[in-house]
């Protein structure tokens, strides 16, 4: 894939990869006593309960988010990386956009199960739920980038 022609896609992939890396790096930093690790935990605090018993751990410290949130973020990244080679799925979802919420149903059932669910249910259903959302984000980034480029061209021609 050409980097310059697909700049919004690669920016999205880079940003998401940094986001997932921050989740995994937080326990590493805490275990080594580095202060920025605590800032990372604080940054994710408004969007996750961060319960250690419901989070993966690294070096004896919990990840910055729970199993389900980590599944959601990983699923988004996985979706971004997979959709360029899933042409038929991409066409189907763009033709029937309401179907993007269907993979979230298992996650809602899992949430409703409360304390009955298990680690891999939480992670797996989160992964599945956010997978198609990545496509929407990619298309949105492309649309906004095209609008930006059209605006720049217009300004250039007016000058």
């Amino acid at each position: 894939m050409n980097f310059r022609r697909n700049l919004p896609y690669w920016l999205l992939v880079g940003g998401t990869a940094c986001w997932v890396a921050a989740v995994v790096a937080a326990p590493f930093a805490r275990a080594h006593g580095w202060g920025w690790g605590e800032w990372t935990y604080l940054a994710f605090h408004p969007v996750c309960h961060q319960m250690p018993e419901r989070s993966f751990s690294l070096l004896g410290e919990p990840f910055a988010v729970c199993h389900r949130c980590f599944g959601l973020y990983s699923g988004f990244l996985f979706g971004l990386l997979a959709f360029p080679s899933l042409g038929r799925w991409r066409a189907f979802l763009l033709e029937h956009p309401r179907w993007v919420v269907a993979p979230a149903l298992p996650m809602l059932v899992d949430v409703a199960l409360g304390s009955w669910n298990r680690t891999w249910d939480r992670f797996g259903t989160g992964l599945l739920a956010s997978f198609p959302i990545a496509l929407l984000a990619w298309v949105a980034a492309e649309q906004l980038y095209q609008r930006y480029r059209a605006g720049r061209k217009e300004n250039y021609e007016l000058r």
Partner: protein, 192 residues
């Protein structure tokens, strides 16, 4: 070039105020622990309010949904911070602050908690740290709420934006006669 269309501000303001108010009130705010449901819901609400009055288009405007969600998230972060302050003060006045201090002391005396975490928590709970914490919290919420509400805006666009039938493909150009008719020896690549 404009990323913000007319009518977006009103929808984003209502969605943002709703998500900010819901995220700041203690029992309701727990819903954010379920995959940031309130913040994503605020983005979906903003998208619904905007797209319900928009005409159908051939392509779903996901870009508009993203911008709308991000705006709602920014409004929501500010609203949440403004409402959270008096709620915290009220909680302290009712004696919940003492419970927090007790919990903090318990954490600080726990030998299993790393030194970096203890220093960080002590800094945030100090009087100066509380004010810094409010601004720090606002900065973090602006980013986090902006991103998550943007996802909500995208989901809202996929659900509520009206999609018209695809326009018919353009007619193919007429097929030139073969062999091409002679046109006076001019091959069409004259260099003058």
């Amino acid at each position: 070039m404009s990323f913000v269309e007319r009518g977006m501000f009103r929808a984003a303001l209502i969605g943002g105020l709703a998500l900010g108010a819901a995220s700041a009130i203690p029992p309701v705010s727990c819903l954010n622990c379920a995959c940031c449901a309130l913040v994503i819901g605020g983005g979906v609400l903003a998208a619904y309010l905007y797209f319900k009055d928009q005409p159908a288009s051939a392509q779903v405007p996901y870009g508009d949904g993203a911008v709308l969600g991000a705006l709602a998230g920014l409004v929501g972060a500010v609203t949440d911070t403004v409402i959270e302050l008096p709620v915290k003060l009220l909680a302290n006045a009712l004696g919940f602050g003492a419970k927090n201090a007790e919990a903090l002391n318990k954490v600080l005396s726990n030998p299993d908690v790393p030194e970096g975490a203890k220093r960080f928590m002590a800094m945030l709970m100090s009087p100066g740290g509380t004010i810094a914490g409010v601004f720090l919290g606002l900065a973090m919420k602006l980013v986090i709420f902006g991103i998550f509400a943007m996802i909500g805006g995208l989901i809202g666009a996929s659900m509520f934006a009206k999609k018209s039938a695809a326009p018919p493909p353009p007619a193919p150009p007429p097929i030139p006669p073969w062999p091409p008719a002679a046109s006076g020896g001019d091959s069409g690549s004259s260099m003058q």
